[in-house]
Amino acid sequence: MGVLSALMRGLVRGADRMAEFTSKRGPRTFYKSRGARPTGVLTASRKFIPVQAMIPEFVVPSLEGFNLKPYVSYKTPAGTEQPMTPEMLFNQVLAPQIERDIEEGVFSEENLEKYGLEKTQEGKLFKLHPKNFVR
């Protein structure tokens, strides 16, 4: 009450009606999840069957020859690299190959798959549009 009165003078006294109604509030029969993804299926007889494919599994590569550590030394000089833009990516990856092909006279607009460009996103696991991965 002290916080509320000090903060919001002139507003209606009482409970905060706009606060999020989380699983910590309400009667004990009130159930609400906090966002964890389910790892199985709940059957009609209220039995829970865990599905192995829904349980996340971390595949960690071997860390041999990996020298990066959690912290960075203070001796490192300050500075940032420019973030990668689509133009930079094109210039670094595709532009040399396309220029070479144009000089040889082999470049054709129907044959863009050999540079890595895809005609359609069907059949791919990670589609760029509509984007079906979180990152």
Partner: protein, 216 residues
């Protein structure tokens, strides 16, 4: 506007334009107690000084022109631009008790009061006398502070970190990445997404595809 949205804005965003900046930094608990979000205080008038005209930097030696410690020279410990304040180490002090609890009256310490910028001047390092300052350009094009009386350049004080760490003398611990490893560039740009690249490197085969679903 929703109350929760308003509170989250107050928590993360900057301070209102009429916030009274004090010697306590605004993110400390003491400052939050003195200036809770809804509070309005009488306005203090602050002479507007442009960023280009501000000539005192933390670590500079300045002389006090008026006040209790007039004529004394000291090092600048803190600069508060919002009020044109400069706090010197150990000068212009008043005394107070700190850390009192129960019957114990606390420790008696000297605490510095802030000085306005117009009450201090920079000190020429060569003859250690107070002088007026101008911003001028060297022949290389660098903008430097020049004392009007003698014409000598007043160099900026060496930047010292507040936690006392000197980067050149730092000894790397077991969890510190060395500078060579940090600056190594191992990124090869390619048209693959990160997920596809990782799957290729780890030899993960995934032939299943998600079932098509439609929404309208």
């Amino acid at each position: 506007m929703r109350l929760t949205a308003l509170l989250s804005m107050a928590a993360k965003a900057a301070f209102p334009h009429d916030y009274r900046y004090g010697t306590n930094r605004p993110w400390t608990i003491a400052a939050q107690r003195l200036n809770p979000p809804g509070k309005k205080r009488r306005k203090v008038f602050v002479e507007p000084i442009a960023n280009e005209d501000w000539h005192v930097v933390r670590g500079d030696t300045v002389e006090i022109l008026s006040g209790k410690d007039k004529g004394k020279q000291g090092k600048v410990a803190q600069v508060i631009r919002h009020r044109n304040w400069v706090i010197l180490e150990g000068l212009n002090t008043h005394y107070r008790y700190i850390g009192r609890s129960g019957d114990y009256r606390g420790t008696y310490i000297a605490s510095e009061a802030p000085l306005l910028l117009k009450d201090v001047t920079l000190v020429d390092p060569t003859d250690r006398k107070p002088t007026d300052i101008e911003w001028r350009y060297t022949e290389e094009g660098e903008r430097v502070r020049v004392s009007v009386r003698t014409g000598r350049i007043i160099p900026k004080p060496v930047f010292q970190r507040k936690d006392g760490i000197i980067p050149q003398q730092w000894k790397d611990g077991p969890k510190d990445t060395s500078p060579e490893d940090t600056l190594q560039k191992t990124y090869t740009p390619s048209l693959k997404t990160l997920e596809e690249d990782v799957m290729e490197k780890m030899n993960i085969q995934e032939d299943r595809r998600p079932r098509k679903s439609y929404w309208y």
